[in-house]
Assembly symmetry: C2
Homo-oligomer: 109 residues x 2
Amino acid sequence: MGTTKSNNFTAAQNRKAELYKALGHPARIAIIEFLIRKNSCVCGDIVDQLPLSQSTISQHLKELKQVGIIKGEIEGVKMCYCIDDKIWSELKEMNNSLIDSYAINDKCC
Amino acid sequence: MGTTKSNNFTAAQNRKAELYKALGHPARIAIIEFLIRKNSCVCGDIVDQLPLSQSTISQHLKELKQVGIIKGEIEGVKMCYCIDDKIWSELKEMNNSLIDSYAINDKCC
DNA sequence: TTTATCTATCGCAATATTACGATTAAATAA
DNA sequence: TTATTTAATCGTAATATTGCGATAGATAAA
């Protein structure tokens, strides 16, 4: 136990959950908002922006990288991170297909 | 440790993370998709739709209820669940302010 | 070369999540 | 009243997540 039973759900459901889960932490939201604000590669100074230790931030960056939301490139001694356009499009579509598929109807309880 | 340091982030960042986190499990995605497909109150038969035990599903419903995404009402011996229009609107706006705020630019790595 | 800088990873501890069976509680049906 | 049905909650076990300090590795600067 303690493990999500992914096998019992569709690939689409698992992918949605995976992406939303990656967004499900304030530090990762903060990282993404910072990258969006900069609107380009951000080299090095993410650690200065967050109230967490370097190792913890590195871990959060890794999680975002693993699901594809951001990508990183070595620039000399620094790492440059940015939003991955392709996955961001996937996220946008996924999100729209979920959110917009519900028509607000006021029919309920 | 093991606890998210919510105090160090803005209320908006924490709320976003909280909502995305609630969506970050395939069972909860499946529940929401089912409610949307029905497009009305769903009384009783959620347990038949998912490959998880009754108690586990009850827990997932509780989490969705806690962040406000769904609401439930007692109908006799059954529980009726549906999407909460108000929070769904909040979710929509939140997405706009995050997902749509990034203009794909191809400027990066 | 040596030193400084930056980031990933390791190891650990604390807490959270996932899942299930058993039980409880509440409403309906017999 | 006594079943029966339905869903929440309790207790427990296994695994995952969060966070940090310490360390390692790689590049640049002196």
